[in-house]
């Protein structure tokens, strides 16, 4: 047994070494994106289009691990939390530099985090809300906290806590922070593995390797391996795939799930399904009455559970995700830290669903309208399948297709019964999705109107609980309470489908969605 383990280790080491030798340096990787970034400022950005590539340009003190489960060292080589949990000391690596060659100091760190936690700035400041003050001294940065905060390491590994060069930013033209950010974000300089060298909006973006990047590759020299990455903006899915097949691209994101099987068979293409934090569900209006004053059948927990049991997820996974999805058992994805693998979810059980309907106040069934995103083939496939499944328990589903902005406006006004929805985490911690999905005081539990005093209490405790086992227990309870209340229809988790040329090695899209090009290289 022991010798077997040892030989396995030797083999693994040999494989790793082989890989290390194979990493080739240089070249340009051309990657097809479905849309362009909007605004490359870590604090004031708005969308995944920015978030998912910001970490290539700006580095953070800590970094999310590629499995989505925790954090690892970044610009800070280590950190310690005080016994009472009321402060945290981070030690910066020696000799850190920004992409222009200027030194990255503790003062830059203090300034960047102060900017990021300013409540007036951006949509993301709440992740750093526990910080009361920051002290920079030498290569050490001390964060003094209002209360213990178990989410802080993950927050410091998130895009909005990126470290920016104070001098360059303040030297940018503009009267205030927002104006300076506009100017700076046109030609951003950070300390990430790459630096923006060219950007033709809507067309392409080129990132060149940052020669001062601190992280070393397997060959002992500084990362990244690539000389540059070029993003081509190709909104049409088919065109992206054609361009990849023709060799004009070495990578293409957001491959339609319907084409995954076909591309898996293609000889020169490495069709990869990166695990994600994406959960797909149907959000229900849980309020007793709808906006027009009529009684809302979805306010009955029996009905909500019945709809969950009557949805045959295995069939939906085949129909909508072409088998690439995975059963959703908790409101958070299985790649989210503190996901409770023991959650039963709602396995398909038509008999149980019928019994629940019979026990509800709506025995004779009812008609319900769901808001879908127009033009989304996935939404339509999903909902027409559900129409059939729910028909079996006397629920008549009507589909209303709306463009995304109109859909958003409708549910913001609580003017909906059901709507399709997907979520991805921005931070390697369960607190973000939990605060949105389960807390009424945030945005009425993503406008479902769900409210649970028990969850509110557990969540508040978990936000200060430094004991990982205790925090995990709190999250287990939250997930159970939420599941029983069934404010949403649990559907499936879906991966990030990326098609790469066989030559591309070392590229990862982490569960949070960030595209990591630092360790990517092109095989010769």
């Amino acid at each position: 047994m022991k010798s077997l383990t040892r030989s396995a280790l030797v083999l693994a080491a040999a494989l790793a070494a082989g890989q290390a030798l194979a990493a080739t340096r240089g070249g340009q990787l051309v990657y097809g994106r479905y849309a362009d970034s909007l605004f490359l400022d870590p604090v004031l950005n708005d969308a995944n289009l920015d978030i998912w590539i910001l970490t290539n340009l700006y580095d953070t003190l800590l970094q999310p691990t590629t499995d989505g489960k925790g954090v690892q060292a970044g610009l800070a080589s280590s950190y310690t939390t005080a016994k009472d949990g009321k402060s945290m000391v981070l030690t910066l690596r020696p000799g850190l530099k920004f992409a222009d060659g200027s030194a990255l100091t503790a003062a830059d760190v203090k300034w960047s985090l102060d900017r990021a936690r300013n409540p007036e700035a951006g949509a993301w400041n709440s992740s750093l809300a526990s910080i009361s003050s920051i002290v920079a001294s030498g290569n050490k940065v001390t964060l003094n906290l209002k209360q213990p905060d178990p989410t802080l390491p993950a927050a410091l590994a998130t895009f909005n806590a990126a470290i920016m060069p104070q001098k360059l930013f303040t030297a940018a033209p503009g009267k205030n922070d927002a104006e300076k950010a506009k100017a700076f974000a046109e030609k951003p300089v950070g300390s990430g593995p790459f630096v923006l060298s060219e950007w033709k909006r809507g067309s392409y973006m080129v990132m060149k390797r940052n020669p001062y990047y601190w992280k070393k590759g397997d060959d002992g020299k500084a990362l990244p391996y690539l000389d540059s990455v070029r993003f081509e903006i190709i909104p049409d899915d088919n065109t992206r795939i054609l361009k990849l097949q023709a060799g004009e691209l070495q990578g293409a994101e957001f491959i339609p799930l319907s084409r995954v099987a076909e591309l898996k068979k293609a000889p020169n293409i490495n069709m990869t399904l990166f695990p994600s934090t994406k959960v797909n569900s149907i959000l229900m209006n849980n309020r007793p009455k709808l906006n027009d004053g009529t009684v809302n059948p979805l306010s009955d927990v029996n009905v909500r559970q019945a709809l969950n049991y009557a949805a045959n997820k295995d069939a939906l996974i085949q129909v909508v995700t072409y088998g690439t999805g995975k059963l959703m058992k908790s409101y958070m994805s299985s790649t989210t830290p503190l996901f409770d693998a023991k959650q039963p979810g709602f396995p398909y059980d038509l008999a149980k669903a019928k019994a629940l309907m019979a026990a509800s106040k709506f025995k004779d069934g009812f008609e319900v309208t769901v808001l879908a995103t127009s033009g989304s083939a996935d939404d339509l496939a999903l909902l027409t399948a559900l129409q059939q499944m729910w028909g079996a328990i006397g629920v008549k589903l009507k589909i209303e297709q709306l463009d995304a902005a109109t859909k958003t406006a409708r549910y913001r006004a609580n003017d909906f019964q059901m709507r399709t929805a997907a979520w991805t985490n921005d931070i390697n911690d369960p607190s973000q999705i939990t605060s949105y999905y389960t807390l009424f005081d945030n945005i009425e539990s993503v406008h479902t109107g769900f409210k649970s005093a028990e969850i509110d209490k557990l969540f508040a405790q978990s936000q200060q609980e430094l004991n990982p086992a205790k925090r995990a227990a709190q999250y287990q309870q939250i997930q159970s309470i939420y599941l029983k209340a069934a404010p949403i229809v649990y559907l499936y988790e879906t991966p990030y489908p990326v098609a790469l040329s066989n030559k591309v090695k070392g590229f990862v899209q982490i569960p949070l969605g960030n595209n990591i090009f630092a360790g990517a290289y092109l095989d010769k």
């Binding site: 046109e186 909104p235 913001r412």
Partner: protein, 312 residues
Amino acid sequence: MHANYVIKRLLQIIPTFLAVMLVVFLLVRLLPGDPASAILGDRATEEVVERTNRALGLDKPLPVQFGIFVGNLLQGNLGDSISLKVPVLRLILERLPTTLFLTAYAAVLGVLMAVPLAVLAAVRRNTWVDALIRGVFQVGLSLPVFYVALQLLTLLGARLGWFPIGGYGEGFTGHLYHLFLPALTLGLNLAAILVRTLRNSVIEVLGAEYVEFARAKGLRGRVILGRHVLRNALIATVTLLGLNIGALIGGAVITETVFAIPGVGRLMVDAIFGRDYPVIQGLTLTFAVIVSVVFLITDLIHARLDPRAELS
């Protein structure tokens, strides 16, 4: 020559623009959804949405917003894009040349295909040649633009490798090469519209008295076609082309998406989905200017070709 006429027409454009601006300004605000929540997505809190809308000046009463917009416009300022945070004018100037190039390219290809084929169909009217030409274009007209685009891409781009898939290349020859397939897509659509009308007008001209007269005089068929028929056919083409320029730009919206061309068509689609008011307004104004100018040029050319058309 027609300087007075041109000046008068240009002056007439101004109230048209104001009306267009007012309508668009109100229409985009009547759409459900606001820019802040469109950009921020599902998870933004009310507070953040409100703060964002306030920062964009969208909390002010509509007349005030319109006043600010027109005031800025008079200073040549179209405002900043809400989602991209750069001046709208810059975005349009960056992307307009690409769309104009594509539109002109498509128009040229469309005319090059349509005119000879329409004349051929007319001359050989009611033969199999006529039926074939009309049939092919009838089918072409009924196929959706994105379908034709994808088929061309798959066949001539991916399978045969004759043309690049998407993008628009560097320099004039680069544009010609890269934009060939999208221009062909749009050109086919345009040719389908042109062929039908052109064929009819050629048949009409062929039966006209003066053509009979010319024939009686003993002029050869080719001369009649060149001197009399084509000249008249050209009048119809120019007018039709002018009228279809809006449709051509509309078609560019789809082709630009399929062929990954960063033109104003795609910018408009993104702006509408993102409720990016300043971009929508700026682009509408641009389209209005283009269409007005094209109509004016069409009228001028028409007058040149057809002395009967009076400019007044």
